[in-house]
């Protein structure tokens, strides 16, 4: 049955090849089902091998399968072969098992993506590389898998490459991992030099005979490699950014598999660690402890649902390093397995939330989802209790085991671990409350939307204000016109009266018999008619003037009104409904009733959206993982020796390097009680803050906690600024500085090399001078014995 080992990586690889060849032609779900079937078959093969292995005597559980011999150089021989032992099969079991579930989940999650089949192609290749990493019988094959998973994660993180942030996140992951790869390569060569082979079988035999210095160096280099792959200080920076990829990728890469490979490597090389100086191994524990603490602090202040989980992953991996560093390999593996269960569950659950909420990732806009997504919420809660360390959920057993071993080595380390546990329970409770409980904040107006609404409203009022002002100006003009009109009319009246008087005088002065009297009387009549006419015109003009005055008053009143309205809106804006930056379950819904009609389209679209539970392909994996996250503790219950299945099972792979602790049962109980109490206190505290609002979250979510985040940013700034400039400078140096230096060489050189000038001015000449200078340097170096 053990001969089936080669099938384990070969099946997903076949899936990858099939998808490469036919992926384009396969309709959407078929490609996903093909990939999932390959993973499931690989899981079956792993189970078969597992059964075969467990059928053997414990001492005999070591099986090498050589596919063919690969000889890179001379005496150096490497096989393409697989090492089947309890350690590699344990890893393979949960990689293929969880991998299958994640593949299944992806069918639902990636529905409708234009690159559907390509996604599964990468997933399968990733799984094949990961399995090669754990099953390879030598460091080189592990390295191949190591590079392979790195490459695939680069592709998968950048999968939605349309946004720049994803592309740069992928780049960050790649570059950071290259640093680790360098450590791996150096360690591999050192091992080869010291032991003469890089096969695990030979390393295991040869490691106890290693010189202590060599073993220490190898341990430190492997630690460097592991910090990159498993996202520990100082190389953890890529993991939070890697959340830009599709969620199943986060689950697969960052929970279950790739990030554990650093820990796997250290566990696999336990004989080397055993031969190294104690301080180098203790360093591993401290790296883990500090990472665990820093990342847990950072998780407390995150608002992105996936970033909380990302920092949580870093923190939990810190526990694994702590365990490895104190020689607690079995607890490390135990926690790795339970963590794979519950963290995959949490990631997939968060993916389900994001999927159901139209790609919303901000926890401040969630809340109350328990009713809408009962399965997601229920399973998420199982994952939460598991990671928070509440018995009898799986996380409690494995974490407690690690803390116990750590306590035996150093109470100080244990204390750091305990604080981390407290923080873990706290931020996870916070996440659960913000996401699933309290008021549904999904439909709430966002801060930016409210601001946008005010801008819209203000625009309307401003328009009215402008209009009123124009009206005032117009009516003022009208008044002026009316006034001049009145004046004119008054003049008219006066003229008419004067004409009347003149006519009256003229009439009275002339005899009626006189010639022209008729005419004068006529004129008098006319003039006497003219006066009332002019007077009536004047009255009209006066009326118009009054009207204009009234218009001005009205316009001025309108202006005052709009100004008041504008002030009112400004006031309203200042007093706008606060969208809580640190929400709790009780945070009130921002009241937008006064300006609902002005809210932007995104807000109105959201009101139309119906948050929903995910399809069965997504919820089924959640349910299965919830079962595992609940019951995973059964693997290694501490109550009796014969309940410690995992310890017994892994023993042959650890060659007696496992630490044995001399802690009394009483101490064990006390430690367990403390751990439970800490978890419960943290949960209660989080409930008090976020569900009961006993205390403002702002006072707890302190920005100083984001130490890890600031470090990340600092690194990014250095890498993006001076780091990139470094490369630019190298390029510049090559082309400009060297040329410049050459050009700065005194004219003497130039005139001595005057013939060069005849050729072509500029580059060729300076290149030529460069060659000459180089020749001079080489010559001087060769003649160094004359000077030294």
């Amino acid at each position: 049955m053990l001969e089936a080992a080669w099938l384990i990586p070969a099946l997903p690889l076949t899936g990858f090849l099939l998808l490469v060849l036919f992926g384009r032609k396969l309709a959407e779900p078929v490609a996903g089902w093909l990939a999932t079937a390959m993973m499931a078959a690989s899981f079956v093969a792993t189970v078969v091998v597992f059964l075969g292995l467990s059928g053997r005597e414990p001492a005999d559980r070591f099986f090498l399968q050589t596919i063919f011999t690969w000889v890179p150089a001379g005496s150096f021989q490497v096989d393409i072969g697989f090492l089947v032992d309890p350690l590699s099969i344990t890893m393979s079991l949960f990689i293929t098992g969880i991998g299958t579930l994640i593949h299944l989940y992806s069918i639902g999650y990636m529905h409708g993506d234009p690159n559907f089949s390509k996604f599964f192609l990468y997933l399968n290749l990733f799984a094949a590389s990961m399995l090669l990493l754990v099953l390879g019988d030598n460091l080189l094959l592990t390295f191949l898998g190591w590079e392979g998973v790195g490459l695939c994660s680069y592709f998968l993180i950048s999968f939605w490459f349309t946004s720049d942030s994803n592309a740069s996140a992928g780049k960050k992951a790649f570059v950071t991992n290259r640093v680790g790869d360098f450590g791996f390569m150096l360690a591999m060569f050192l091992l080869f030099r010291e032991i003469g082979s890089i096969r695990y079988a030979d390393i295991i035999v040869g490691a106890p005979g290693l010189a202590i210095g060599a073993a220490t160096t190898i341990t430190l280099l492997m630690l460097l490699a592991a910090t990159a792959k498993s996202a520990q200080i100082p190389l953890f920076v890529w993991l939070p950014d890697a959340m830009a990829g599709p969620t199943p990728v986060s689950a697969l890469i960052h929970a279950a598999t790739m990030v554990t490979s650093g820990v796997y490597l250290l566990v696999r090389l336990n004989p080397v660690l055993g031969a190294a100086e104690a301080w180098s191994v203790t360093l591993i524990a401290w790296v883990g402890a500090l990472t665990a603490l820093a990342a847990a602090l950072a998780a407390v202040v995150q608002t992105d649902i996936k970033k909380v989980l990302a920092y949580s992953t870093i923190s939990q991996l810190g526990y694994l390093f702590m365990a490895v560093g104190v020689g607690a390999y079995v607890p490390a593996m135990f926690h790795m397995i339970t963590h794979a269960f519950f963290k995959a569950l949490l990631f997939l659950g968060s993916g389900s939330v994001i999927h159901g909420l139209d790609d919303e990732q901000d926890m401040r806009r969630m809340g109350g989802l328990a009713k809408l997504m009962p399965i997601t919420a229920g399973t998420f809660i199982v994952g939460w209790l598991a990671i928070a360390g509440v018995p009898p959920f799986s996380g409690f057993w494995s974490k407690d085991e690690i803390l116990l071993y750590v306590f035996d080595q150093s109470p100080l380390l244990w204390f750091v671990g305990l604080v981390t546990a407290l923080l873990t329970a706290f931020y996870m409770t916070r996440q659960v409350i913000l996401t699933f409980f309290g008021r549904q904040r999904f439909f709430d107006a966002h801060e930016s939307e409210i601001q946008a609404a005010f801008v819209t409203k203000l625009e309307v009022v401003n328009q009215g204000f402008g209009e009123a002002r124009t009206a005032v100006d117009t009516s003022k003009l009208a008044i002026e016109k009316a006034a001049s009109d009145v004046a004119k009319r008054e003049e008219g009246v006066v003229t008419a009266q004067l004409a009347l008087e003149e006519a009256t005088l003229a009439v009275s002065g002339s005899s009626p018999e006189a010639e022209g009297h008729e005419k004068l009387v006529k004129a008098l009549n006319k003039a006497s008619k003219g006066v009332p006419k002019a007077e009536s015109v004047l009255t009209k003009a006066l009326a118009k003037a009054t009207e204009a005055h009234q218009g001005l008053q009205a316009a001025e009143a309108a202006l005052v009104d709009t100004a008041a309205a504008r002030r009112g809106i400004e006031d309203q804006r200042l007093a706008a409904p606060e969208v809580a930056t640190h929400p709790t379950a009780l945070s009130p819904k921002p009241d937008v009733s006064g300006f609902e009609d002005a809210m932007p389209q995104s807000y109105r679209d959201r009101q139309e959206y119906h948050p929903h539970e995910s399809p069965w392909t997504m919820t089924l994996p959640l349910v299965v993982l919830a079962g595992l996250a609940f019951a995973g503790g059964l693997l290694n219950l501490p109550f009796a020796k014969n309940l410690k299945f995992l310890e017994t099972w892994l023993e042959p792979s650890l060659f007696g390097n496992e630490r044995h602790i001399g802690v009394t049962t009483g101490t064990k109980w006390i430690l367990a009680v403390i751990a439970i109490a800490v978890a419960l206190v943290a949960i209660a505290a989080a409930f008090a803050v976020y569900l009961r609002a006993r205390r403002s979250p702002a006072s707890l979510e302190r920005s100083e906690f984001g130490l890890a985040v600031s470090y990340d940013e600092a690194i990014a700034n250095v890498a993006g600024g001076p780091g990139k400039r470094g490369f630019d400078v190298a390029a510049m140096f090559d082309r400009t500085v060297v040329d410049g230096a050459v050009n700065a060489v005194p004219t003497a050189v130039r005139s001595a090399a005057g013939w060069i000038r005849l050729l072509q001015p500029g580059l060729v000449r300076s290149y030529g001078v460069m060659v000459v200078l180089g020749t001079g340097a080489v010559t001087l170096l060769l003649l160094r014995s004359l000077f030294l």
Binding site: V71, N115, S158, F161, R193, F727
Partner: protein
């Protein structure tokens, strides 16, 4: 007068049958010109390319029989080499191995050149004649047992390539590349020749054995006379510069990016394979044999050059945006790895044969062969991608290639992975062997720098891969911009180019999976290299 000549000038007894490859390559060039001058130019078609490839293959077909003779000779009197032309040419497994690689490079370049010239409307048989003559110079350099012959070989090799670099008459970049290469190459040749003169002045011989023997004599007297020694050292320094220039080792690499960018893509393929191999062959033979007794003097400089070359090549490559410039820096980085191989191939008195030096010499030979094959495939792709005018070489023009040309992209990925040194490609085995040899030789600094360069360098190849695969579905803006730029010419992969590409990929993968494919030929050639002085 005539009788005097007849008496004085001894015609050396020449065993022509041993140097068939050299003769075929040089004669074929002349014959090609003669034949094609008799028919109208328009009617030659693919004949010159086919003739060139056939000549190269014919030349290569003489290698196995010659190898058999060499190995028989070893059985008879323990020496696995023949000397021809008054001990100025050595025919041994090393010569024959290099000859084989050069012949392969000529054949593959001829295929690439055929379609390139037709596409660019530059068909003319002279280019093929130059290619073969250059190759014959390379073979001569690789087998030169005498510095004068080495210089003649180097010049035949180089001058033909200067002209080839400028063959694209309508592209000013090509003209400029040819000119720059010529000017700087002439400078380095002058330095090299001056070095030969100084060595002759110091040792009284231009023959490698003579040089080696003269140093022994000096050593036997105790201290080396300072006067002679410094003269000799200056000569060695000048020759070192000459070779470093040809293999593009930093800081003598400065011509490389400009020339690679400007020269026609198939010619660059030949420069990176045939020319580099020949130059390294000459470098190895002259330094490992002729100057081996002074290696404590020059070896640290080779190490320094290797370090500078690796750092400059791998770091500067990262910021390039033109793929041909990028490949130029990549070629510089590979030269750095090869220099480490050369460094490890020297004997340092630790252990007998089978020690680090055999690892080193087999590493560099493996590297030369595998790199030649993969770089020719790489430039096959670049030739195709350059499209008419040979101008589209920005990495952006590789975007979404996987969608439009899945086969081309797939094959290119293998070659890029090989250059990056991903396992199961020949590139990995080559780098691994070099690093292994260095660490066996206890040069941990060199091994460390090599690993660092491998790590940094991988990034640039991945950039191209990512451009080809991830960045399809690009935003329309890019497509529109590309269309505006007149990018719409379809990519045409002619069968000959595809053949070259497939051969290159198959060999690259085969050597990656079965590194011992070369079998005893490579081992014997490496052994020859280590036994030159014995």
């Amino acid at each position: 007068m005539n009788t005097l000549f007849a008496q004085e000038a001894q015609i050396p007894d020449i065993e022509w049958s041993l140097i068939w490859p050299l003769l075929i390559l040089s004669l074929a060039g002349v014959i090609l010109i003669t034949i094609t001058s008799l028919v109208p130019r328009t009617r030659t078609g693919s004949f010159p390319a086919a003739f060139t490839a056939a000549s190269a293959i014919t030349a290569a077909m003489f290698i196995p029989s010659t190898v058999a003779r060499v190995n028989d000779q070893q059985l008879v009197n323990g020496r696995a080499e023949f000397y021809v032309l008054a001990r100025s040419i050595a025919v041994d497994n090393f010569t024959l191995f290099i000859t084989g690689v050069i012949c392969l490079a000529v054949a593959m370049s001829a295929f690439l050149l055929d379609d390139y010239l037709r596409r660019e409307g530059l068909e003319s048989p002279e280019w093929y004649a130059l290619l073969m003559l250059s190759a014959s110079g390379g073979v001569l350099l690789a087998s030169a047992e005498d510095l004068i012959v080495a210089f003649v070989g180097l010049e035949i090799l180089s001058i033909a390539v200067y002209v080839l670099a400028a063959l694209h008459l309508r592209r000013s970049e090509s003209q400029e590349a040819g000119f720059k290469y010529f000017v700087l190459g002439a400078l380095s040749s002058a330095i090299f020749l001056y070095g030969i003169a100084l060595v002759y002045g110091a040792t009284g011989s231009t023959n490698l054995r003579g040089i080696n023997d003269s140093m022994f004599a000096v050593n036997d007297r105790g201290l080396v006379p300072a006067q002679d020694s410094s003269l000799l050292l200056v000569g060695i320094a000048f020759m070192l510069v000459g070779f470093a220039f040809k293999v593009s080792a930093a800081p003598f690499h400065i011509w490389t990016p400009d020339v690679y960018q400007g020269a026609p893509s198939p010619v660059v393929g030949f420069m990176a394979s045939g020319v580099k191999v020949a130059a390294f062959a000459g470098f190895l033979r002259v330094f490992l044999y002729g100057f081996s007794d002074l290696q404590e003097e020059w070896l640290p400089i080779v190490a320094a050059l290797a370090v500078i070359t690796l750092v400059v090549g791998s770091f500067v490559a990262v910021v390039q945006t033109n793929i041909k410039r990028m490949m130029a820096y990549s070629s510089i980085t590979h030269a750095g790895f090869m220099l480490i191989g050369l460094h490890s191939a020297t004997k340092d008195g630790l252990g007998g044969s089978g020690g680090p030096e055999i690892l080193g010499s087999s590493a560099i030979l493996f590297y030369l062969f595998s790199y030649s094959v993969m770089v020719l495939g790489t430039f096959a792709v670049i030739t195709v991608m350059g499209r008419t005018g040979d101008g589209q070489h920005s990495i952006d023009s590789y975007r979404a290639l996987a969608r439009s040309q899945p086969l081309l992209a797939g094959l290119f990925v293998v070659l890029l992975f090989a250059q990056a040194g991903i396992p199961f490609t020949s590139g990995f085995v080559a780098k691994f062997r070099v690093i292994l040899a260095a660490s066996e030789d206890q040069n941990y600094v060199l091994a460390g720098v090599a690993m660092l360069a491998a790590v940094v360098g991988a990034y640039l190849y991945l950039r191209v891969v990512v451009a080809m695969f991830l960045e399809d579905e690009t935003d329309d803006a890019v497509d529109v911009a590309a269309a505006d730029a007149g990018d719409s010419e379809p990519i045409d992969v002619p069968p000959a180019v595809l053949t070259v590409l497939v051969i290159s990929v198959v060999v690259t993968l085969a050597l990656g999976v079965l590194p011992d494919l070369g079998g005893s030929f490579l081992d014997n050639a490496a052994a020859t290299l280590t036994q030159l002085r014995d």
